[in-house]
Symmetry: C2
Subunit: 140 residues, 2 copies
């Protein structure tokens, strides 16, 4: 198995609400078919799809939304950008954990989207950051 993540599908309970939320943050889907939105990101594709249909497709019982055990991170190049993005998320209706200095010498906060999916917005001066937002780890 190659070290790759091709898509991240976020199960959503209200497709229009979810899509409107990401669009308000500035995302534009490359494809929007049958209530499935595909956003081309840095290598990976982010998809929004019915949580119910996703559960059925996987073949599992969905006990309803609660914390996923997963956090997605959106890294940026400055503390000011962290503040700006979290402000925009708050205005779009997200729950925000205010940004603060981190134990690794950076600055980060979190927002939770309308379906409970958690995003960290972080400035980590210890990581390389490509123009497309990809983190470049130091070579092992």
């Amino acid at each position: 198995m190659k070290q790759s993540v091709s898509l991240i599908t976020l199960g959503v309970s209200d497709y229009r609400r979810a899509k409107a939320f990401y669009e308000a943050l500035g995302w534009t889907p490359a494809m929007d078919v049958e209530e499935t939105a595909f956003f081309q990101a840095n290598g990976v594709v982010l998809a929004l799809w019915s949580r119910e249909k996703l559960a059925a497709d996987i073949g599992l019982k969905d006990d309803g939304a609660r914390w996923s055990g997963i956090a997605l991170a959106h890294n940026v190049g400055s503390d000011a950008e962290v503040d700006q993005i979290l402000d925009a998320a708050r205005r779009s209706g997200a729950k925000v954990r205010d940004p603060a200095p981190t134990f690794y010498g950076g600055y980060a906060g979190y927002f939770t989207d309308p379906d409970g999916h958690v995003w960290e917005v972080a400035h980590n001066p210890g990581f390389g950051l490509a123009d497309d937002g990809s983190v470049i780890l130091p070579a092992g």
Copy 2:
């Protein structure tokens, strides 16, 4: 906010078990510090970190593992590769939903890692696929 996902952090309840699982699938961390493993993938970085610490960092109450509402996908170029990877995941202790033809004309199955995180392994002839496993959507 740029359309980018910089890191995907999977909260895990047993760090050694989780790391061993991904290593058995062929993944090698670029960094492994303080019980945090960082795997460089296609643009995105996959991290394994204590579920408890992640919940505390986000500032939320963790009600314990159950389905996340998120599926990660690993796309490959043939049905045979789907079979091979799901077989390897099963041998590594993952729960597998056997692969089958999909409604979009592809072939896919799922495995669930020891912490309940769900991966789809898919061959989708309708998507472009880069050498690094990145899906390339048709231009909008």
